[in-house]
Point group: C2
Chain length 199, copies 2
Protein backbone atom coordinates (compact mmCIF):
# COMPACT_ATOMS: atom_id res chain seq x y z
CA UNK A 1 0.00 0.00 0.00
CA UNK A 2 2.03 2.93 -1.32
CA UNK A 3 0.14 5.63 0.58
CA UNK A 4 1.09 3.95 3.82
CA UNK A 5 4.72 3.38 2.84
CA UNK A 6 5.00 7.04 1.92
CA UNK A 7 3.61 8.08 5.27
CA UNK A 8 6.00 5.76 7.11
CA UNK A 9 8.92 7.17 5.11
CA UNK A 10 7.84 10.71 6.01
CA UNK A 11 6.70 10.34 9.61
CA UNK A 12 8.02 7.01 10.89
CA UNK A 13 10.90 7.02 13.33
CA UNK A 14 13.28 4.14 13.97
CA UNK A 15 14.53 3.40 17.49
CA UNK A 16 17.33 0.85 17.67
CA UNK A 17 16.99 -2.17 15.39
CA UNK A 18 13.45 -3.27 16.01
CA UNK A 19 11.15 -0.39 17.01
CA UNK A 20 9.29 1.65 14.42
CA UNK A 21 7.38 4.56 15.89
CA UNK A 22 4.35 5.59 13.90
CA UNK A 23 2.63 7.36 16.75
CA UNK A 24 1.96 10.50 14.75
CA UNK A 25 -0.71 8.81 12.61
CA UNK A 26 -1.32 5.16 13.59
CA UNK A 27 -1.21 4.38 17.30
CA UNK A 28 -1.24 7.47 19.52
CA UNK A 29 -2.27 10.29 17.26
CA UNK A 30 -4.54 8.99 14.47
CA UNK A 31 -4.90 10.40 10.97
CA UNK A 32 -8.57 9.70 10.16
CA UNK A 33 -8.00 9.84 6.39
CA UNK A 34 -5.20 7.27 6.55
CA UNK A 35 -7.46 5.11 8.72
CA UNK A 36 -10.21 5.39 6.15
CA UNK A 37 -7.83 4.36 3.37
CA UNK A 38 -6.64 1.41 5.46
CA UNK A 39 -10.23 0.33 6.12
CA UNK A 40 -11.03 0.61 2.43
CA UNK A 41 -8.04 -1.52 1.52
CA UNK A 42 -8.89 -4.30 3.99
CA UNK A 43 -12.54 -4.23 2.92
CA UNK A 44 -11.52 -4.59 -0.71
CA UNK A 45 -9.13 -7.47 -0.06
CA UNK A 46 -11.70 -9.42 2.00
CA UNK A 47 -14.79 -8.30 0.05
CA UNK A 48 -15.70 -11.81 -1.14
CA UNK A 49 -15.32 -13.56 2.20
CA UNK A 50 -18.81 -12.94 3.59
CA UNK A 51 -17.37 -11.32 6.72
CA UNK A 52 -19.97 -10.88 9.48
CA UNK A 53 -17.72 -9.47 12.20
CA UNK A 54 -14.42 -7.67 12.68
CA UNK A 55 -12.35 -8.64 15.73
CA UNK A 56 -9.49 -6.52 17.06
CA UNK A 57 -7.78 -5.70 20.36
CA UNK A 58 -7.73 -2.48 22.35
CA UNK A 59 -6.45 0.11 21.97
CA UNK A 60 -4.53 0.79 18.79
CA UNK A 61 -6.36 -1.81 16.67
CA UNK A 62 -9.70 -0.10 17.14
CA UNK A 63 -9.32 2.71 14.61
CA UNK A 64 -8.39 0.61 11.58
CA UNK A 65 -10.88 -2.10 12.58
CA UNK A 66 -13.69 0.43 12.87
CA UNK A 67 -13.00 1.81 9.42
CA UNK A 68 -12.95 -1.70 7.97
CA UNK A 69 -16.25 -2.50 9.66
CA UNK A 70 -17.77 0.73 8.38
CA UNK A 71 -16.83 -0.16 4.83
CA UNK A 72 -17.96 -3.79 5.08
CA UNK A 73 -21.11 -2.88 7.00
CA UNK A 74 -20.47 -5.24 9.92
CA UNK A 75 -19.96 -4.79 13.70
CA UNK A 76 -16.50 -4.42 15.21
CA UNK A 77 -15.65 -6.26 18.41
CA UNK A 78 -12.57 -5.30 20.38
CA UNK A 79 -11.00 -7.65 22.90
CA UNK A 80 -10.25 -6.07 26.25
CA UNK A 81 -6.95 -6.45 28.07
CA UNK A 82 -6.38 -7.36 31.67
CA UNK A 83 -10.01 -7.70 32.60
CA UNK A 84 -11.70 -10.86 33.71
CA UNK A 85 -14.56 -9.37 35.71
CA UNK A 86 -17.65 -10.63 34.06
CA UNK A 87 -20.71 -9.40 35.98
CA UNK A 88 -22.01 -12.90 35.56
CA UNK A 89 -21.34 -13.08 31.86
CA UNK A 90 -19.85 -15.83 29.76
CA UNK A 91 -16.51 -14.77 28.30
CA UNK A 92 -13.76 -16.20 26.16
CA UNK A 93 -10.20 -15.47 27.28
CA UNK A 94 -6.66 -15.95 26.01
CA UNK A 95 -3.24 -15.22 27.40
CA UNK A 96 -1.03 -12.86 25.40
CA UNK A 97 2.64 -12.24 26.09
CA UNK A 98 4.06 -8.86 25.11
CA UNK A 99 7.76 -9.05 24.29
CA UNK A 100 7.93 -5.25 24.16
CA UNK A 101 6.73 -4.88 27.74
CA UNK A 102 7.83 -8.31 28.94
CA UNK A 103 4.49 -9.08 30.53
CA UNK A 104 1.64 -11.52 30.01
CA UNK A 105 -1.89 -10.23 30.01
CA UNK A 106 -5.29 -11.86 29.60
CA UNK A 107 -7.54 -10.67 26.81
CA UNK A 108 -11.27 -11.29 26.77
CA UNK A 109 -14.44 -10.92 24.75
CA UNK A 110 -18.00 -11.48 25.85
CA UNK A 111 -19.24 -14.71 24.31
CA UNK A 112 -22.50 -12.92 23.42
CA UNK A 113 -20.74 -11.24 20.52
CA UNK A 114 -19.09 -14.21 18.79
CA UNK A 115 -21.19 -17.12 17.58
CA UNK A 116 -20.58 -20.22 15.45
CA UNK A 117 -22.47 -18.45 12.65
CA UNK A 118 -19.87 -15.67 12.48
CA UNK A 119 -17.29 -15.29 9.75
CA UNK A 120 -14.60 -13.27 11.50
CA UNK A 121 -11.92 -10.99 10.08
CA UNK A 122 -9.16 -10.12 12.57
CA UNK A 123 -7.65 -6.65 12.12
CA UNK A 124 -4.68 -5.17 14.01
CA UNK A 125 -2.15 -2.41 13.55
CA UNK A 126 1.09 -4.38 14.09
CA UNK A 127 2.25 -7.96 13.70
CA UNK A 128 5.61 -8.81 15.25
CA UNK A 129 5.96 -12.03 17.28
CA UNK A 130 2.30 -12.75 16.65
CA UNK A 131 1.23 -13.14 20.27
CA UNK A 132 -1.74 -10.78 20.16
CA UNK A 133 -2.98 -12.20 16.87
CA UNK A 134 -2.69 -15.76 18.17
CA UNK A 135 -4.77 -14.72 21.17
CA UNK A 136 -7.46 -13.30 18.91
CA UNK A 137 -7.44 -16.46 16.78
CA UNK A 138 -7.95 -18.46 19.97
CA UNK A 139 -11.00 -16.36 20.89
CA UNK A 140 -12.51 -17.07 17.45
CA UNK A 141 -11.83 -20.79 17.87
CA UNK A 142 -13.35 -20.88 21.36
CA UNK A 143 -16.54 -19.36 19.95
CA UNK A 144 -16.64 -21.97 17.20
CA UNK A 145 -16.71 -19.16 14.65
CA UNK A 146 -15.08 -19.24 11.24
CA UNK A 147 -11.86 -17.25 10.79
CA UNK A 148 -11.70 -15.84 7.28
CA UNK A 149 -8.35 -14.13 7.66
CA UNK A 150 -6.12 -11.58 9.33
CA UNK A 151 -5.49 -8.03 8.13
CA UNK A 152 -2.42 -6.26 9.50
CA UNK A 153 -1.35 -2.68 8.84
CA UNK A 154 2.39 -3.13 9.48
CA UNK A 155 4.04 -6.56 9.58
CA UNK A 156 7.56 -6.82 10.87
CA UNK A 157 8.80 -9.40 8.39
CA UNK A 158 11.95 -10.00 10.41
CA UNK A 159 9.93 -11.38 13.33
CA UNK A 160 8.06 -14.65 13.37
CA UNK A 161 4.38 -13.65 13.62
CA UNK A 162 3.62 -13.65 9.91
CA UNK A 163 5.32 -16.98 9.27
CA UNK A 164 3.48 -18.63 12.17
CA UNK A 165 0.11 -17.55 10.80
CA UNK A 166 0.91 -18.56 7.22
CA UNK A 167 2.22 -21.93 8.45
CA UNK A 168 -1.19 -22.54 10.03
CA UNK A 169 -2.84 -21.90 6.67
CA UNK A 170 -4.41 -18.63 7.81
CA UNK A 171 -4.90 -16.03 5.12
CA UNK A 172 -2.78 -13.03 6.12
CA UNK A 173 -2.97 -9.68 4.36
CA UNK A 174 -0.33 -7.19 5.52
CA UNK A 175 -0.58 -3.73 3.97
CA UNK A 176 3.10 -3.08 4.56
CA UNK A 177 5.86 -5.58 5.34
CA UNK A 178 9.09 -4.30 6.83
CA UNK A 179 12.13 -6.47 6.17
CA UNK A 180 14.54 -4.63 8.42
CA UNK A 181 14.95 -1.67 10.71
CA UNK A 182 18.36 -0.26 11.56
CA UNK A 183 20.34 2.89 12.05
CA UNK A 184 20.66 2.96 8.28
CA UNK A 185 16.89 3.25 7.93
CA UNK A 186 13.95 1.09 7.03
CA UNK A 187 13.68 -1.54 4.32
CA UNK A 188 10.28 -2.55 2.99
CA UNK A 189 9.90 -5.99 1.41
CA UNK A 190 11.41 -6.01 -2.10
CA UNK A 191 12.78 -2.49 -1.79
CA UNK A 192 16.03 -0.74 -0.94
CA UNK A 193 16.67 0.91 2.42
CA UNK A 194 14.95 4.24 2.95
CA UNK A 195 16.42 6.68 5.42
CA UNK A 196 13.94 7.79 8.06
CA UNK A 197 14.10 9.84 11.24
CA UNK A 198 15.82 8.43 14.29
CA UNK A 199 14.50 8.35 17.86
CA UNK B 1 -29.99 12.51 19.79
CA UNK B 2 -33.03 10.32 19.11
CA UNK B 3 -31.16 7.64 17.15
CA UNK B 4 -28.97 7.03 20.15
CA UNK B 5 -31.83 7.03 22.65
CA UNK B 6 -33.65 4.50 20.51
CA UNK B 7 -30.62 2.26 20.42
CA UNK B 8 -30.17 2.51 24.20
CA UNK B 9 -33.85 1.64 24.69
CA UNK B 10 -33.45 -1.39 22.42
CA UNK B 11 -30.01 -2.69 23.37
CA UNK B 12 -29.04 -1.04 26.65
CA UNK B 13 -29.08 -3.11 29.82
CA UNK B 14 -29.36 -1.77 33.35
CA UNK B 15 -27.38 -3.36 36.18
CA UNK B 16 -28.33 -2.15 39.64
CA UNK B 17 -28.97 1.58 39.99
CA UNK B 18 -25.98 3.08 38.28
CA UNK B 19 -24.58 0.85 35.54
CA UNK B 20 -25.83 1.08 31.97
CA UNK B 21 -24.34 -1.53 29.69
CA UNK B 22 -24.16 -0.49 26.05
CA UNK B 23 -21.47 -2.96 25.12
CA UNK B 24 -23.33 -4.27 22.09
CA UNK B 25 -22.74 -1.06 20.12
CA UNK B 26 -20.66 1.51 22.03
CA UNK B 27 -17.82 0.18 24.14
CA UNK B 28 -17.02 -3.49 23.47
CA UNK B 29 -18.77 -4.28 20.24
CA UNK B 30 -19.02 -1.16 18.04
CA UNK B 31 -21.71 -0.36 15.52
CA UNK B 32 -19.81 1.61 12.86
CA UNK B 33 -22.94 3.36 11.56
CA UNK B 34 -23.91 4.58 15.02
CA UNK B 35 -20.33 5.77 15.46
CA UNK B 36 -20.53 7.64 12.19
CA UNK B 37 -23.78 9.30 13.25
CA UNK B 38 -22.22 10.26 16.59
CA UNK B 39 -19.18 11.74 14.85
CA UNK B 40 -21.42 13.68 12.50
CA UNK B 41 -23.42 15.08 15.40
CA UNK B 42 -20.34 16.24 17.34
CA UNK B 43 -18.82 17.73 14.18
CA UNK B 44 -22.02 19.66 13.53
CA UNK B 45 -22.27 21.01 17.06
CA UNK B 46 -18.64 22.16 17.12
CA UNK B 47 -18.39 23.12 13.44
CA UNK B 48 -17.74 26.82 14.10
CA UNK B 49 -15.08 26.37 16.77
CA UNK B 50 -12.03 26.07 14.53
CA UNK B 51 -11.10 22.72 16.09
CA UNK B 52 -7.57 21.61 15.17
CA UNK B 53 -7.40 18.42 17.25
CA UNK B 54 -9.62 15.83 18.92
CA UNK B 55 -8.44 14.44 22.26
CA UNK B 56 -9.84 11.26 23.80
CA UNK B 57 -8.74 8.42 26.05
CA UNK B 58 -8.21 4.76 25.27
CA UNK B 59 -9.98 2.52 24.64
CA UNK B 60 -13.69 3.16 24.29
CA UNK B 61 -13.37 6.85 23.42
CA UNK B 62 -11.39 6.11 20.28
CA UNK B 63 -14.22 5.10 17.96
CA UNK B 64 -16.45 8.15 18.43
CA UNK B 65 -13.43 10.46 18.49
CA UNK B 66 -12.11 9.01 15.24
CA UNK B 67 -15.42 9.54 13.49
CA UNK B 68 -15.57 13.13 14.75
CA UNK B 69 -12.04 13.76 13.51
CA UNK B 70 -12.88 12.24 10.15
CA UNK B 71 -15.82 14.58 9.75
CA UNK B 72 -13.94 17.68 10.95
CA UNK B 73 -10.78 16.78 9.01
CA UNK B 74 -8.45 16.96 12.02
CA UNK B 75 -6.14 14.46 13.80
CA UNK B 76 -7.33 12.43 16.78
CA UNK B 77 -5.04 12.00 19.78
CA UNK B 78 -5.81 9.36 22.36
CA UNK B 79 -4.35 9.50 25.86
CA UNK B 80 -2.80 6.24 27.03
CA UNK B 81 -3.47 4.71 30.41
CA UNK B 82 -0.95 3.40 32.88
CA UNK B 83 2.10 4.14 30.82
CA UNK B 84 4.84 6.54 31.76
CA UNK B 85 7.68 5.04 29.77
CA UNK B 86 8.78 7.77 27.47
CA UNK B 87 11.76 6.56 25.44
CA UNK B 88 13.24 9.96 26.16
CA UNK B 89 10.16 11.89 25.14
CA UNK B 90 8.43 14.81 26.75
CA UNK B 91 4.98 13.86 27.97
CA UNK B 92 2.05 15.40 29.80
CA UNK B 93 0.43 13.26 32.49
CA UNK B 94 -2.60 13.37 34.76
CA UNK B 95 -3.94 11.10 37.47
CA UNK B 96 -7.42 9.69 36.95
CA UNK B 97 -9.42 7.85 39.58
CA UNK B 98 -11.92 5.26 38.40
CA UNK B 99 -14.81 4.84 40.82
CA UNK B 100 -16.02 1.81 38.87
CA UNK B 101 -12.76 -0.04 39.37
CA UNK B 102 -11.68 1.79 42.50
CA UNK B 103 -8.19 2.46 41.20
CA UNK B 104 -6.14 5.45 40.19
CA UNK B 105 -4.22 5.37 36.94
CA UNK B 106 -1.95 7.80 35.16
CA UNK B 107 -2.89 8.93 31.67
CA UNK B 108 -0.39 10.45 29.27
CA UNK B 109 0.05 12.07 25.90
CA UNK B 110 3.25 12.90 24.08
CA UNK B 111 3.78 16.64 24.20
CA UNK B 112 4.71 16.55 20.51
CA UNK B 113 1.03 16.27 19.63
CA UNK B 114 -0.48 19.11 21.64
CA UNK B 115 0.76 22.66 21.13
CA UNK B 116 -0.36 26.12 22.30
CA UNK B 117 -1.66 26.70 18.76
CA UNK B 118 -4.17 23.85 19.09
CA UNK B 119 -7.90 24.29 19.57
CA UNK B 120 -8.87 21.01 21.21
CA UNK B 121 -12.20 19.20 21.34
CA UNK B 122 -12.38 16.46 23.98
CA UNK B 123 -14.57 13.49 23.05
CA UNK B 124 -15.48 10.52 25.24
CA UNK B 125 -18.15 7.86 25.42
CA UNK B 126 -19.28 8.29 29.05
CA UNK B 127 -19.33 11.07 31.62
CA UNK B 128 -20.10 10.03 35.19
CA UNK B 129 -17.99 11.46 38.04
CA UNK B 130 -15.93 13.36 35.49
CA UNK B 131 -12.54 12.03 36.50
CA UNK B 132 -11.37 10.99 33.04
CA UNK B 133 -12.59 14.20 31.45
CA UNK B 134 -10.87 16.30 34.12
CA UNK B 135 -7.65 14.44 33.38
CA UNK B 136 -7.98 15.22 29.67
CA UNK B 137 -8.70 18.88 30.44
CA UNK B 138 -5.52 18.94 32.51
CA UNK B 139 -3.49 17.57 29.59
CA UNK B 140 -4.84 20.37 27.37
CA UNK B 141 -3.96 22.97 29.99
CA UNK B 142 -0.44 21.60 30.48
CA UNK B 143 0.13 21.97 26.74
CA UNK B 144 -1.09 25.56 26.84
CA UNK B 145 -3.65 24.67 24.17
CA UNK B 146 -7.15 26.09 23.92
CA UNK B 147 -10.04 23.86 25.00
CA UNK B 148 -13.08 24.54 22.84
CA UNK B 149 -15.37 22.06 24.55
CA UNK B 150 -16.24 18.53 25.55
CA UNK B 151 -18.46 16.13 23.59
CA UNK B 152 -19.90 13.17 25.49
CA UNK B 153 -22.01 10.35 24.09
CA UNK B 154 -23.80 9.38 27.31
CA UNK B 155 -23.83 11.65 30.36
CA UNK B 156 -25.05 10.23 33.65
CA UNK B 157 -26.94 13.30 34.81
CA UNK B 158 -27.30 11.87 38.30
CA UNK B 159 -23.54 11.96 38.86
CA UNK B 160 -21.45 15.07 39.25
CA UNK B 161 -19.21 15.12 36.16
CA UNK B 162 -21.44 17.29 33.98
CA UNK B 163 -22.07 19.85 36.70
CA UNK B 164 -18.37 20.14 37.50
CA UNK B 165 -17.52 20.89 33.87
CA UNK B 166 -20.35 23.39 33.41
CA UNK B 167 -19.38 25.11 36.68
CA UNK B 168 -15.92 25.67 35.22
CA UNK B 169 -17.49 27.38 32.21
CA UNK B 170 -16.56 24.56 29.86
CA UNK B 171 -18.90 24.00 26.94
CA UNK B 172 -20.31 20.50 27.33
CA UNK B 173 -22.37 18.78 24.65
CA UNK B 174 -23.86 15.46 25.76
CA UNK B 175 -25.75 13.57 23.07
CA UNK B 176 -27.83 11.74 25.66
CA UNK B 177 -28.34 12.62 29.32
CA UNK B 178 -29.62 9.93 31.64
CA UNK B 179 -31.45 11.21 34.71
CA UNK B 180 -31.84 7.91 36.48
CA UNK B 181 -31.22 4.19 36.22
CA UNK B 182 -33.13 1.72 38.32
CA UNK B 183 -34.85 -1.61 38.29
CA UNK B 184 -37.83 0.23 36.82
CA UNK B 185 -35.78 1.19 33.77
CA UNK B 186 -33.99 4.20 32.40
CA UNK B 187 -35.10 7.82 32.41
CA UNK B 188 -33.64 10.24 29.90
CA UNK B 189 -33.62 13.95 30.74
CA UNK B 190 -37.14 15.40 30.34
CA UNK B 191 -38.71 12.05 29.58
CA UNK B 192 -40.61 9.32 31.38
CA UNK B 193 -39.03 6.06 32.45
CA UNK B 194 -38.42 3.54 29.68
CA UNK B 195 -38.23 -0.11 30.55
CA UNK B 196 -35.04 -1.74 29.32
CA UNK B 197 -33.37 -5.11 29.74
CA UNK B 198 -31.87 -6.05 33.07
CA UNK B 199 -28.41 -7.49 33.74
Amino acid sequence: MELLKDRIRTDGRVIGNDVLKVDSFLNHQLDPEIMRAIGHEFATRFADEGVTKILTIEASGIACALMTGLELGVPVLFAKKGRTRTQGEEIHTAKVHSYTRNETTTIMVSSRFLSPADRVLIIDDFLAQGEATAGLVSLVEQAGAQLVGVGIVVEKGFQQGGRLLRDRGIRLESLVIIESLSNAGIRFADEAITTVQKG
